[in-house]
Symmetry: C2
Subunit: 517 residues, 2 copies
Amino acid sequence: MRIPEILKRAAHLEGDDPAVTFDNVTYSWSDIEDRAARTAGVLAEMGVGPGDRVAILALNSLDQYTLFFAVPWIGAILIPLNWRLSEAEQVAVLEDCAPRVLLADGPNAGLAAKLAAECASIEALVHADAGDPPDGAASLHAALTSAGRAGEAGAGDDDVAYLFYTSGTTGKPKGVMLTHKNFYVNSLGGLLSYNLRVKAPTLMPGPLFHVATAMRVFTAAMSCAHTVIMRKFDLEELFRNIETHEIQNLSLVPTMIDMMLRHPRLHEFDLSSMRRIGYGAAPSTPELQERALTAWPEVEFRHGYGMTEAAPLIAILDAEDHTLTDQGRRRMRSVGRPLAYVDVSIRDPKGDEVPRGGSGEIVVRGPNVMKGYWNKPEETAAVLKDGWYHTGDAGYMDEDGYLFVIDRVKDMIITGGENVYSTEVESALQEHPGVAQCAVIGIPHTSWGEAVHAVVVPAEGAQVNEVELIAHCRQRIAHYKCPSSVEMRTEPMPLSGANKIMKNKLRDQYLAARAGE
Amino acid sequence: MRIPEILKRAAHLEGDDPAVTFDNVTYSWSDIEDRAARTAGVLAEMGVGPGDRVAILALNSLDQYTLFFAVPWIGAILIPLNWRLSEAEQVAVLEDCAPRVLLADGPNAGLAAKLAAECASIEALVHADAGDPPDGAASLHAALTSAGRAGEAGAGDDDVAYLFYTSGTTGKPKGVMLTHKNFYVNSLGGLLSYNLRVKAPTLMPGPLFHVATAMRVFTAAMSCAHTVIMRKFDLEELFRNIETHEIQNLSLVPTMIDMMLRHPRLHEFDLSSMRRIGYGAAPSTPELQERALTAWPEVEFRHGYGMTEAAPLIAILDAEDHTLTDQGRRRMRSVGRPLAYVDVSIRDPKGDEVPRGGSGEIVVRGPNVMKGYWNKPEETAAVLKDGWYHTGDAGYMDEDGYLFVIDRVKDMIITGGENVYSTEVESALQEHPGVAQCAVIGIPHTSWGEAVHAVVVPAEGAQVNEVELIAHCRQRIAHYKCPSSVEMRTEPMPLSGANKIMKNKLRDQYLAARAGE
């Protein structure tokens, strides 16, 4: 169940077939396999061996794609860095994982040089892009022209192959250790759940540093499907790629679907090849689901719920459940049912399972669950107990086994002894036409413990105030759930690398502002 | 990826749902999980521990089904014995695997008592059936009433959980060591390839000692599907079960499908619930496929190709390829394409891969491949080389990746330097209306090395002779492939436990007869 075997099988069975298109060049499975073996050879020449870390800071590219196979090929560990992070955040990640080699593409070369100078562990800086390398960097492409194929290290199924740093909403970077087995099993689960068994042209618009995109590297290789890699997300390029390559499979976040559907030139492109859209990584809305199902009735939509620590799939809402019937609408508010190898338990704060239908923390177990956080035994022990991973998400499971995610456990507000799920309050606020964006957090309150506080970005040109919004909520949800204070904000919300609102930052900002009063 | 986890997950997520119906009683997933834990407790009380062997000689039953989970639960190894074997063959198997405990049902109790007396390793004989145990046997059911749940042994993914003895066509019993991982991966592959992801009522008419039936224990538990266990195959009971339980999923051998379609009272039963029929374990014919597809157009047919050593799936011919178009008819002669995690190579006698399209031995690799043969390092080394399992089947793969099985390598005849596949000659013979059954073997020949020899059972009342049959073949296949001698036979062919003609016995009989001339 080693990752390189997935590639070797594809190259062996479908060697001449297209594997990857990048920058308008198409590579066969044999090309990719040979490139991976030689990229591994280049790294081995630099002294990289089993257990060593190799980081890459790059937009999506052929090189980055290839490293997903080349690094585990020699038993080393790949860290695909999130290029959206600040320099200070990159340093924190690199100091945590201490790679021997840092690769970067052209757009990230400048930052990479600074990082290489700053981080003592980095022995080699490698330019993984066309053109001449900047000063102090070796050229991967030049080295590849003469590199030999590396021998495959006999890694075990449970050896770590990747560290994915959680962009997190809590600040401190944590390297999620994912093993060969974690991704191998998830790939089988992905083929099964997303109906990817059939070899079909696939578009990769998401960033490879995100596990939801990275998993598509392996599902595509398992089904020998042709993947078109986009350097980064661009709407018109996405449309053109679908049209040109007759793309059938896509993995998107809800925002991308929304942007596609709202695009004024949507109908100028032929998107009729689309067959399977997997979406996830962020909640969708019933309104968006309805628009998507109506616009593209030929497409099978599937929602994937998961997280980096689960490599990533936990539950899938299947295509059959994406209907505009009453049952379909109800089910589309869920994240679907657990994958065939994932067990799910809902736990109260003491760690006891609650009866079916009750809400609590979503806790999961299966061969896809991470080995732990890199160099963080305490943080690992806090979330991995008896093989059960504590997701930090709050939710419940209905009688039919559909899982509903309510909120992050830590975003749950306890006010006067009552639990308030921030997402429920946010949903109520969102229904007000004057609200463009909102986030609900708990703030300290002397008598209630916490009070419900809303941060709202008004819609452009809207006139809306605190009193009106509180009154609006009281018509929709229980009094105790309604915000006791609403803060209007014109600057954008602080977002994580995964585009999630960082509520801890909102809380910090709120407390700092109050301290300054 | 431990087998007991599959059951624990099903009991946890769908505890109240029906898991198994046997003898008109239905048990929930919680019932089965508890019964497995307590059956494990009974065995542990008898001193069975990690690595110990436990054998069962029984028709299909709830007890046997439960043992598939209970034995690996405590890290022990289950051997489901083939009740069709002779006493001498059973002794050979039991002496090879040396179980501490032998369980048997009522119909096999007499033979089991003899075997327990004969085999020194057997410390306990256990009656796994209703009613009083025979003398010298303990009662599993009595023990279960007071047994506690065993703790689960922390087996590793690669620990052996089962020995399946190959009925083989070569005589000597070999215990195929299948690990937790082998079956876990195969179960995911089964869900994926047979479209068993959806929880649907499943009928188990085949014998649990056969790996193709046993795998359905795990696929059903992974999808929490309800399985109706038949004690043994009976056509009318099969029909009644489908009708009563609205069975959607079935796993059948081609002979069963043929018997169903030919049954005079077929149309008296409501079989309209059938959705997915997986078939395999023996070659089908285009004529049978056509009849089946025509009779049941609503059913998705899938052919599985595999073997015990591959736990068992290697390739699947998908439902979309079961059509009566020209392409469909061509593809239905193949065994389909390799599963997502199975690599397939076609090798010449020197072990070198032949170019795509060329024929040779089918050699496979993947996490489903057995650990080896129990206590047989030489036999293991002969078939497992660098992780590649040499199947002994001859075949080729076409440009689209469809695998065609031609023959057993050892049934290939080399005559005057030419390779003759016995199945090709048998197909030609079968076209003669006077031939009920036939087998083609190689016999020693002084100048050709081997000569092609046919053994034929004539159809009832048919008048057919050697000259006529040879002439019939010459009209159909190349001269050198035609039998040079034909032996008429009235007694039935010698069959293996898997209902395959034992060609080695035919060869022995031929040589003995010639020696006696």
